[in-house]
Amino acid sequence: MEGVRKKRSVVPLTLGALVVALVVLAVGCRPAAAPKPPPTPTPAPPVAAPAPERTLKIGGMWAMTGLLQGFGINSSAVARYALDRINAEGGVRLRDGSRAKLDLVLYDEGCPNVEQGIAAARKAAADPVLVVIGPTCSSTAEPVFGILQKRLDDPTDTGLQLLFFTDTAIKAGLASISPWAFRNVPSEIKMYEELFKWLKETTGYSTIAVGTEVDFAHSKSTSDVAIKPGATKAGFTIVADEGWKLADTDFSAQVSKMRAANPDVVALSSHPFTTCGFLKEASRQGFRPKVVILLTSSITEETVRGCARELEGAIGPTSFAPINKLAREVSLTVADRYRGFVDLHSAPVYENLMLLRRLIEEAGVEGRPDTVLQDRRRLRDALAQVKEFDGLLGKIRFRTDEPREVDKPWVVVEFSGGRFRPKYIPPEYRAAIVVD
């Protein structure tokens, strides 16, 4: 028995050591990265201002684990860059004239695990965070916004009083759920409507097949309210309408049916993994539509890494492209120093934080532990007064027809030669978008 007891006491230690070794080995042994472009000098950080005396907490609620963690990793990288920049420039000035630095507090929404997102929101509400940037997923944002206060100044409304300023969750209409929810996301309805109109006018194509990831809120919603209506309005005839699921691996049936329908255009309302799966199957079956249109969420580095070859020539709308000096600077610095990528989902983090820096000072945030709720309300009210603010592509305006939603400049990009390049700028944004 003594020998057995001794053996069993060694077992957990050995097991733990083996597990740790496995994790270290795996995390350290990443597949070789794609070749990096030649380094471009990133601008030197500004001369440091006097060190801030206090700290304000900014929440970041993103998918940091799970299938969609790539989006969360990018958003958190941009957040760290933006906050480092703000803090290096002296932080923010508080109501009493003292200065505070901004600290990032991360909350993992665990998308698509909705319960985890709600738990994270409740935790953030109980913590002294001033505002939360996020969440990543529309399927998280919808229920999370649902537990926020619906009626300001109503003592009977026990919803959370926590300000959200969303960067990624893009499903239409979510900000209307609560006056505490603001979103800096483009309108996919408008983007796809304009894209299809431009495509029809410039090519004369007439038929379209649509592929939809049916078990994910964003892709299903975008397909139903943006892509299909936009295509139909522009005069396209939908000749095939196929579906698949987020984790599907075989697309032979869907590609085969689309191939039989012989459409001019294929629009894919799906995220990177299944977009790549579909494109690879299409390539195998020799199915080459004249144009492939991507979902906004597939215009990302993730898709490039998954299927760069099959992506060639695909187009899609995006509210971020490195087409001016600032956009390039942010994009390169985040990639070089913060190991993330800037795309239409993560770029708003920078825009949001730069705006919030100004608003924190204008609203007179006190930044004391006993003023958290008042500070959140001050900031919310200040944000509600904003008509327009600076974005990485150009000016972003809060909409008057949909409160707390924005109208932001966007472009159509095409994947060519290993990266996404601008192909078309809608006329209404040609003056607003800065290109240099």
């Binding site: 077992v11 097991l15 083996l18 597990v19 496995l22 994790v23 795996a26 995390v27 350290g28 042994c29 990443r30 597949p31 070789a32 684990t65 799970g66 299938l67 969609l68 963690q69 790539g70 989006f71 969360g72 990793i73 049916v214 196929e242 579906g243 698949w244 699921k245 987020l246 984790a247 691996t249 075989d250 032979s252 049936a253 085969s256 990177p272 993994f273 790549c276 799966g277 690879k280 195998r284 079956q285 020799g286 580095e301 993730e302 898709t303 890494r305 998954g306 299927c307 760069a308």
Partner: protein, 291 residues
């Protein structure tokens, strides 16, 4: 319509061969140890990723490097799972290995996520060309995988029925106490079984992900559910049953998709599984347990 259904049936059989590859490992562990290894699908995927790492070490390496590296790493991961989830757990707690292998699945999945930062990874495709014959089309790599399945079954049969190791494995699976009395160390046999199934997992994972073309951590759960379902349909413990189960599952999925659409595919697939469990619980080729 009939042509479509026939094409779907053909595609289903071919896709089902990847399910069969995974199912063989599930069924073999059950056959020897009467335990489910829920980490098996994740082992297959993890081994495929390790294989990919080796493959990317130098340009122009053959995809065979990926498969060989996956086989070796599958053996290592399989051994770790065997130690952590079976060998060191008290035998009297029957549910402990099941829960432990579930933990193993999650750990491997998260290690893949951490090491790739959640990004899908492009895997080399081999023989993935589609061949058109009249109104039908076939993927060559799926044919190859089907052939490899048959080879694996033949290899396993040789191992189990023509070698001393196989004799010991069968002895342990039939009556472990009697086997011990004959001088067979059941712990050693179970460990060797995991080594063998680990090699199978690496092979299955590498070939399956190369056929899919893009790897993602989410495939761990996909492999587990489909592999286990195929093994149950075919008959847990029956190696030929794993192949029949995999092909059957592939056909049910493909035909349901064609007839009912994506919304009902998984409903009817699992309904079929339920019906088999109710009316033929031993599976299509399994042996009914009598008391």
């Amino acid at each position: 319509m009939w042509l479509d259904l026939l094409q779907q049936g053909i595609s289903g059989v071919l896709v089902g061969s990847t399910y069969a590859l995974i199912a063989i490992g599930f069924t073999m562990v059950w056959g020897v140890m009467r335990r489910l290894n829920l980490a098996y699908g994740a082992t297959a995927l993890g081994a495929a990723y390790v294989g990919l790492w080796f493959y990317r070490l130098a340009p122009d390496l053959s995809p065979a490097v990926l498969v060989l590296a996956a086989m070796a790493s599958g053996a290592v991961i399989g051994l770790l799972v065997a130690m952590a989830s079976f060998r060191w757990l008290p035998r009297e707690y029957e549910l402990a290995p099941l829960i432990s292998t579930l933990g193993g699945l999650i750990i491997i999945e998260e290690v893949i996520n951490l090491s790739t930062r959640g990004y899908p990874q492009s895997f080399p495709e081999v023989m993935s060309r589609v061949v058109f014959l009249g109104p039908f089309f076939f993927r060559l790599d799926h044919f190859a995988i089907f052939g490899i399945c048959l080879l694996m079954v033949a290899g396993l049969y040789y191992l189990l029925f023509r070698t001393r190791l196989g004799l010991a494995i069968r002895a342990v699976s039939q009556q472990v106490v009697a086997a011990q009395l004959m001088g067979i160390n059941p712990d050693r046999i179970n460990t060797l079984t995991f080594l063998v199934t680990g090699v199978l997992a690496g092979t299955a994972g590498a070939l399956a992900v190369m056929a899919i073309g893009t790897g993602s951590a989410a495939l761990a759960l996909t492999f587990t559910i489909r592999g286990l379902s195929a093994a149950v349909i075919g008959g847990l413990g029956s190696i030929p049953g794993a192949i029949v189960g995999g092909l059957t599952l592939g056909v049910i999925e493909a035909e349901t998709l064609r007839i009912m659409g994506i919304g009902y595919r998984d409903v009817f697939t699992n309904l079929a599984l339920l019906l088999i469990l109710v009316f033929r619980p031993q599976g299509l080729l399994g042996t009914r347990v009598t008391h």
